[in-house]
């Protein structure tokens, strides 16, 4: 046994409890993230119920060709990128700002109250949120239209039926639902900053604002960077539920994205191979984004995944 291996075993034994604690996480990843990757071969097969994934016949790149031949593919890809941009790029700084603001709240009771209130919407399903949004924005008797009507405005606007309002509604409801929950990780990172750094900044004459700029933000910079890089992997996978439920005939041009298309063709029509092929493309594009973002981050900052 060479020395290097002996050293590794020694280190492993010394931290055995920590490794044991890591084990469930590794098992979870293997079961739910690595084993399902085998299913990607369905993208190249004509899935047959009686043959399962492995024994179904190969069809090569048939589903990929069909997808690129589909008349609506460019539109779906563009929509998906735009929704991804809204949910990832535009949304991204807001939980950071929210966490910084919460951190500055001096009254402990109010801070806890604000945190709890902001987390709660996360636990509501999109079905409930969509019903709520449809009711609030309903023409004539919806809450928003009633207020506008009382103020003398046009109370007949059917917001959910108009394409031009779709992205605003989608983004704001997404923000309302996820802002609090997404800020937790930054609050945790902030709490890990050495208090002595704040004391040192105070001695140097920094007020609260400059402490945030020079201590808090640099302290959580690596967390921000890594989460941003990872989230770029989902640029084409923004989740189907919200768009699926918010979709109406009037806003369908904006609401239709790859995820909703996958659900409609894959699950509702049993085209598993086709749906997997699209899902695979989404994953590949996400991976390319992660690699590029990581490379850029490593070139210009010291933050990177690898």
């Amino acid at each position: 046994m060479n020395r290097r291996l002996k050293k590794s075993i020694r280190i492993f034994y010394r931290f055995r409890i920590l490794y044991l604690m890591l084990l469930p996480c590794i098992v979870w990843f293997i079961i739910f993230n690595y084993v399902p990757m085998v299913g990607l071969i369905v993208a190249f097969k004509e899935f047959k119920y009686n043959m399962g994934i492995l024994r179904s016949p190969w069809v090569g790149l048939y589903y990929f060709k069909e997808f690129f031949n589909y008349y609506n593919t460019p539109h779906l890809i563009l929509n998906t990128f735009f929704v991804g941009f809204l949910k990832i790029v535009l949304f991204f700084p807001l939980p950071v700002i929210f966490a910084l603001m919460l951190n500055e709240v001096g009254i402990r009771l109010f801070k806890k109250f604000a945190q709890t209130i902001s987390y709660l919407p996360y636990f509501l399903s999109w079905v409930v949120v969509s019903a709520f949004v449809f009711r609030v924005l309903a023409p004539n008797d919806g809450l928003l239209n009633q207020i506008i009507g009382k103020l003398g405005g046009n109370s007949e606007i059917f917001y959910m039926m108009e394409k031009k309002y779709f992205y605003q509604i989608m983004f704001l409801s997404y923000l309302w639902k996820n802002l609090g929950w997404s800020s937790i990780i930054y609050l945790a990172a902030i709490s890990g900053i050495n208090p002595e750094l704040y004391e040192a900044a105070e001695v140097d004459g920094a007020n609260n604002f400059w402490k945030v700029i020079h201590v808090t933000i640099p302290g959580i910079r690596s967390t921000i960077g890594i989460i941003f890089i990872l989230s770029l992997g989902d640029i084409l996978k923004t989740g189907f539920e919200q768009n699926f439920l918010f979709r109406t005939p009037g806003n369908m041009d904006a609401a239709d994205i790859l995820d909703t298309y996958v659900i409609r063709t894959g699950l509702m029509r049993g085209q598993f191979g086709y749906a997997t092929a699209i899902g695979m493309l989404q994953g590949i594009v996400g991976l390319i984004f992660i690699i590029i973002a990581n490379k850029l981050a490593r070139m210009y900052t010291e933050v990177s995944l690898w």
């Binding site: 899935f47 047959k48 049993g270 085209q271």
Partner: protein, 565 residues
Amino acid sequence: MKRKCLSIILVMLVIVFTSQLLWATGKQEKKEVSKEGHPSTWIANRHIKGRIFLENDGELLPKDQVNNPVAQKIKEMTGITLTWRSTGYPNGLEELTMALASGDIPDVIVSYLDHSGRPEFPVLLKAAREGMFADIRPYLEKTKILSKYITDPNFASKDTRENIMLRKDFNGAIYFVHMNLLRSGIKDSERIHWRFGPWIREDIAKALNIGPKDIKTQDDLYNVLLRIKKGNFKDANGKAVYPLGPRLWGGYWISTVVRNYDFGNGTRFDVDSSGKVKYLLETDYAWKQVKFYRKLLEEGLIHPEYFTMDEVRCKENTLNGSFGVIPWSMARKLEYKVYNYIPFEMINYKGEQVVYEKEKPADKVWAISAKAKNPEEIVKFADFLASKEGKALWYYGLKGVDYTIKDGKYLFTPKWLEFTKTHPEQVKDVIPTFWGALLGSTWLNHKKDFGELWVGLNSDKEDNKLLLYDMNYGNPKFKYWKGTPAPSYLSKIPDVEFKLKPVLDEYRDIMAKAVYAKSDEEAKKILSDYLENLKKSGLDDFKKLLQDQYDKDPDSIAFYIDGTY
């Protein structure tokens, strides 16, 4: 001494009488039990597990599927315990697809299936072709009722026989049993004619003096809606009614209120006057439909959420009488506790003022898993449930307890009728009609079997009055359609189906989208873009197939069907 002798004689008499009685009873029981001591209806001591892909209809199952009196009686007679699993998943087709892919199929499954053009069928057909279901032909052949699907050519429709059950490509195998079929030779007076609408609030119709045949044209309907608006009618909450509201089960595009322009009603394909197959959007009827709705929207005659309102709100508003006219519903007395709606028919694009009905209606399908043990027992059990004896149990409950028979007519007992009024929500827990109907509701002739057109008509005429009233209101003419609905043929060209089906399915959304367009030009462009997309996806190939089939045998295709699809 005399008294003693008398006592002995009396005791002797009692013994002799009792022994005779016991002997006689034993003899009678011997008639009904088999050698193993089971009744003649006995099948096997077994638990059949089923799963239904019927969305919220699962709520109609009894709370206790094993210990309710009817299930117990059936267990006693057949040895079978039947339980259905329902997840309440909001989309039956999606649930079915997932269950088939994951192999989560118990002994027997039930799915929606009116005809082979329904979206469930391609999924079921693929599963059958790929060996997911058992071939039940050998077992069906041995049954009393279900064998009619094979032996009686007048029983099932052509679509049921040639596309669903006895398909040529199945090579003699049978994988499905298409349900809720009427018995062959059923007379017109023995069947219920459902009315689907449109419906107008009865009090409004009376107030405006509108007769059952008065709304014939789009202009007539428009004028009625206008009068409703001007009439300042209120709903149960004192709010002004919307002249036209969405359908009862949630808003979407439906052709019943644009009847004058309903080319290819229900299929969107039809033949023009020169015998050429066309798609609705290739005619000017599509634009006329859109234009009519746009006019209603502009003038505030239609609820703005007509195409999108969810089912809960639609029902709530209908119950409150918030809509003057609704486009589609089924006559169901419980739905109209507050306001009665009455049906009317407009003239269709062919110039007929009739109600279109499927000549041989069907609804739902069941199939047995290829992995189910002893499928013959399941088929036998389904046959028992489809027999008159079986039907009586899941329709009427226990004889003497829940119903009696007088002159061949089945009558609910006063005690049961009282129970249905005091505990309406528990009716399904005692007489589990839906539970039994899933396997047993076929070969139907209720009038012949039970002496009434519908369950309870003889027992409680008042309660069922509305059903008959709706059916006969305005003395409508019913016209039967037959043949295979045009969309069913799409499965014959799988490569085209793959591309075209998703685009065809966008139809309702596209039409609604055009209604909400900012201008007529934009609306027309939406329609023409859609037609272009259809053509890119293989519409012409499909039309050619339909044309060839039509030229070969015009009766084999149904282009114009009832507009509920």
